[in-house]
Amino acid sequence: MITTLDAPRARPRATRRRLPKPTLVLGLLLLALLLAAAAFPRLFTPFSPTDFDYTAILKGPTGKHPFGTDNFGRDVLSRVVHGTRIDLQIALLTTLFPFVFGTLLGAVTAFRGGVLDAVVGRLADLVVVFPFLVLVIAIVAVLGPGLTNMYIAVSAVGWVSYWRLTRGEVRTQKGAEYAQAAQVLGYSPSRVLLRHLLPNAVTPAIVYLMTDMSLGILLGASLGYLGLGAQPPTPEWGVMVADGKNFMVTAWWISTFPGMALTLAGLTFSLLGDGLADALRPRS
């Protein structure tokens, strides 16, 4: 038996329990706020987001309606708060499938290479040479407007970014010695890919996912502007901004507050993205 040559030197504990970066903390706090608004909108406002109040049409911010009311006398605050759920849903569903599908496909094509990789590459080219918005509009036009079809359309296009990111990362990681070690240890390709490569290659995709989530909400807004997004009376921020644009001069609050909510959500995701990038990077 060989005796221990040197005692393993654990790094100071502080290394492991390092406090998360302020960006991540702030991002998580904001996310918590958004999630709270989505889960318990009634906590934030007593009004229904859809009920009309003929007596309070286009009223500016007051104590009763801190964000004012819209052209139907609906409380803008409660529409903004209730919109959180929809917009988080949009953020999630516009990106979930592209993320999962694109990432997996990227991993598989990078790992396998060959014909599969080439075919998917051509497909990606095809998607890429179409202007994104135009393609989405065309697909929504085929399927009809509404959130579900928007998700489908965005998914049909959105996977390419994840595919490309993950593919590049897996190709890099594939060369890393731990991945080669896993192959030499006789592990099955799927184990090498899923257990070893993917966890180490998914970080850029996750970081991009955060940006993409706010882009998803923005896309929802753009489609809303063209009438292809969320359908009334759903309180969705982008559509609220779009609807409010006619009142920008006379009733600025209708579009400004949802606009701020959009920005806040964007900020949240971007902070989370930066923070996650730090947190997910394995320390060495």
Partner: protein, 357 residues
Amino acid sequence: MTAVPSPIPPRGPATPPTPDAAPLLSVRGLTKTFPVRQGLLDRWRGQPRAAVQALTDVQLDVRRGETLGIVGESGCGKSTLARTLVRLMPADRGSVTYAGTDVLALQGPALRRYHRQVQMIFQDPYSSLNPRMTVGQVLREALTVHRLRPPHEIPARVTELLNLVGLPPEAAGRLPHEFSGGQRQRVGIARALALEPECLIADELVSALDVSVQAQVVNLLLELQTRLQLTVLFVAHDLRLVQHLSHRVAVMYLGRVVEIADTETLFSAPSHPYTQGLLAAAPGLDPTRRRAQPAIVGELPSPLRVPSGCAFRTRCPHAFARCETERPELRARTDGQQVACHLDTPPLPEETRTARP
């Protein structure tokens, strides 16, 4: 000897393996090229135009129980050879036979069995371990996937393996970044040993380590080899280490093996002009013996444009017309030395070492 207490009792020189035994691993005509692609964005990548000649007609035998050192300049194909042997890369041509089986044709379960017999340990202590898996997970995975132990015996075996490489049991719970470089190399070795292989392929195992730690890992390798009767392919560019560890040494230049001999012969009577230059260029530890002239002049040619004939001719002091047109084959010399050179006995470079005060 010094008074430094050594944890390993010094032994006599290891018995060299019997030379007449059939080789355990035998490589014939192994050739590997990497097409170089051009272009920027992947999707617009064009057709391959040039290719890196990483291995050309490599031929060597590894005998059971021996340590074969492989040296050569950077980019000469050492790693490519190692990786091809463990099937990390397909070869273009040639054959690899391990204990009678054709390694390059192995598939599925047979390939897994091969991997249990031939393991590789890697150079980079920072990238050779999955940064997200604890050492325990790494070892457990190897044991479970190959069903080497019933589940209840696995924890004990993990401890045993850690012990074998000189790590305490609590190392199992740590992530790679919590270890020093030398310790990581031990983990890498433990991972390879988990499969109880017969043959280890060590690619630059200690090159990335500090000098003071290198010796620790080298000792471990020596110890394990003797205890477990391992056959070792030791790839390195540090000639002193190779000399110390290997029974025999193969010298590579631009994808080709230019000389193989037992260590004694190679270091005392190098035959190939490149081997001679390489040995001369290695900086010795004696400041009083310095050479006035460079050992080899000229730049290493690009592996994309390997010179015709003998690849070394562009830098060889003895090159003559035939070297340009005809490629010298690896030929056996009388004393078991194999050399790829048109000259039977190229003159040793004249002793230019000068004494300094």
